[in-house]
Symmetry: C2
């Protein structure tokens, strides 16, 4: 366990979360009051929110993210085709408020089934999920802040003292290096207060196997790092954690992925978000650096490769048209992939011994990243 801890500037973080909750509930209340006021004035209830249609997802050069443009959508009970979705959205806002009042969490699937208790009709879960995304847009708030979670799971490990804020655990503390298989990032951890850490960086890694290797090889103490297993494409809760760790602890974020176009995009989504979450902020770390595996590392480190598939090539073409991939390492490495027609996995370093990725590759790439 590292000895010198640096006090975080924030006993503030818990207050942030409490403040956030108050604000979200006030937004939900406003939505309700708008509907009441419409009805009181004998108007059909009408809800406006930013359009998420592909044409309204625009690249914002300043923030280097996809955001929603100025087009809005109007849902009104005066349109017979929209009565259904207006009702669903109104019910969902009510239900989210109930969840928050009762300090209960739920899953996307629970919400779908819960609707049946209120005779609110959904054809299937995708319809329910879409309404949840609508509500996110209306109040510009991720569903997780409304206590609605997907089933995805990722993990964290490192010298970070946290203090829980969930019911029954308020004030309890844990150090995230105390369980060497890693701490699951769920509702409790993502809303915990960050109390103290000796860490000087965050390393996000794509795979559980490597996450375990990093812990076994003590990357957390050798590099004073908090390690995060993104378990593939980082779930939104994990991106929210990365953002909080970066912002509240003021720590740089480094990302390690497989050496393929999907890995590169996993890193990009952490850096600048996804088109699917263009209606949300606070899920990105624009200064995060993709350490690798770069396409150009494959030759440099003589890594065993796998031929790229039709799908891989198609994905490269798609990303080549994405404004975020027009320059720098993002663009260059896509070109190298096209040139070498091969990809490789993080485990490929095992060819040179199980610890090579930690002893050699990681320090060299960290050095390189710092000079970029």
């Amino acid at each position: 366990m590292p000895k010198s801890k640096k006090q975080t500037k924030h006993s503030k973080s818990q207050n942030d979360i409490e403040e956030q909750k108050v604000q979200i509930r006030s937004q939900l209340k406003q939505l309700g009051e708008k509907i009441y006021s419409d009805l009181n004035s004998q108007r059909f209830p009408t809800i406006h929110f930013p359009s998420r249609s592909v044409r309204n997802i625009v690249y914002d050069k300043k923030t280097k993210q996809y955001i929603l443009g100025s087009n809005t959508v109007t849902r009104t009970a005066s349109n017979i085709k929209q009565i259904r979705s207006v009702t669903q959205l109104t019910w969902l806002a009510f239900f989210a408020n109930e969840l928050m009042s009762n300090k209960k969490s739920s899953t996307l699937r629970d919400v779908y089934y819960s609707s049946q208790a209120y005779a609110v009709d959904y054809t299937d879960q995708p319809e329910s999920d879409a309404i949840i995304t609508d509500l996110e847009s209306v109040i510009s708030t991720a569903r997780e802040r409304l206590n609605i979670y997907p089933e995805e799971r990722s993990a964290i490990f490192g010298d970070l003292d946290i203090e829980y804020t969930v019911p029954g655990y308020e004030g309890n503390r844990a150090n995230l290096s105390s369980h060497p298989d890693g701490y699951l990032i769920g509702p409790s951890l993502s809303t915990a207060d960050f109390v103290d850490t000796s860490a000087e960086m965050i390393i996000a890694i794509e795979k559980g196997g490597l996450f375990n290797r990093f812990i076994e090889e003590k990357v957390h103490s050798k590099y004073k790092a908090i390690i995060i297993d993104t378990a593939g494409q980082a779930p939104r809760t994990t991106r929210y954690m990365l953002k909080r760790l970066h912002k509240e602890l003021n720590l740089p974020v480094y990302i390690m992925t497989d050496g393929d176009v999907y890995g590169e995009h996993i890193a990009m989504v952490i850096v600048s978000g996804s088109a699917g979450a263009a209606h949300l902020r606070d899920l990105t770390v624009p200064s995060a650096k993709w350490l690798g595996i770069w396409a150009s590392d494959i030759a440099k480190y003589k890594l065993p490769t796998i031929p790229m598939t039709e799908m891989d090539f198609k994905r490269v073409s798609e990303l080549k048209r994405d404004p975020r991939y027009q320059k720098g390492v993002w663009n260059k490495e896509l070109d190298v992939f096209l040139q070498i027609k091969a990809k490789c996995e993080l485990e490929a370093f095992s060819k040179y011994g199980l610890t090579t990725i930690v002893d050699k590759y990681l320090p060299e790439k960290l050095e390189q990243a710092k000079s970029m």
Copy 2:
């Protein structure tokens, strides 16, 4: 936190694990000595082990499990077609021994890439995985005991004090109710010593969302339960944990799954193993009880359903031919599925409120299970 703890009968469990390691390494050594001795006597090295062919997977009525029959396979370097697999198997035994000596863990994928460091040739990872299963058969030991893990993840929560045995953590203790998102079940947890618990039962549940709900609703304290999220079909590490918890703490195991044929089989695999692991013991809890959702519960609890698909019907026909499904609840519920042609999910209880599954269904089914 429950107050009265019952001391486990086993400070023995750590010794078990240490003993197990000593025994496994002695088996690996025997294998090596056999090869040396063959060579010394100018014989081609030859390895015998139980055949895993479908014809040799037999149902054992006594243990109510699939086990391997008496057919054996011989791999010999005198057969030009087998030199490759004999070499791979010998290398793998060496590599597993290295992992154990160095107290390192690895993934199936790591093993595949590590082979390249020794110029041991595999066409692809499936070939490597198959050799790992061969070695399991040779020494009748699950790969996890050789420190080779898949990437699967499941979680545990409840009042159980554990003591780690992995390097750097020896003697450290944790209480598995201290992180309300659940403790990941990985290499460290599955080899930890169980020190103390107040729990009186284990509840395994198929889905992360419900696992979180159970924690939120304090199932662990209301029912004095240790809760396990199997994350779908329980990974072998999780089945090993269930077996250890049952055996070392002498606690009954209850299983909750979706109300469909796949859920029923998730329960069956915990009870009696899988054909794929017929060469291994110590992964089953024959006395474990499937609480539900039974097909017959769907009507009884008026649960919202989903029509069964072609695939579901096909799976029922397959299981109807499985000797383990010939009687009792296993057989009866398959028949009800065929009759109602519908299935349902655990989240379906949300129709009657988020806590109905915990407040009503769970106690009723526990009561029923105890009287069975």
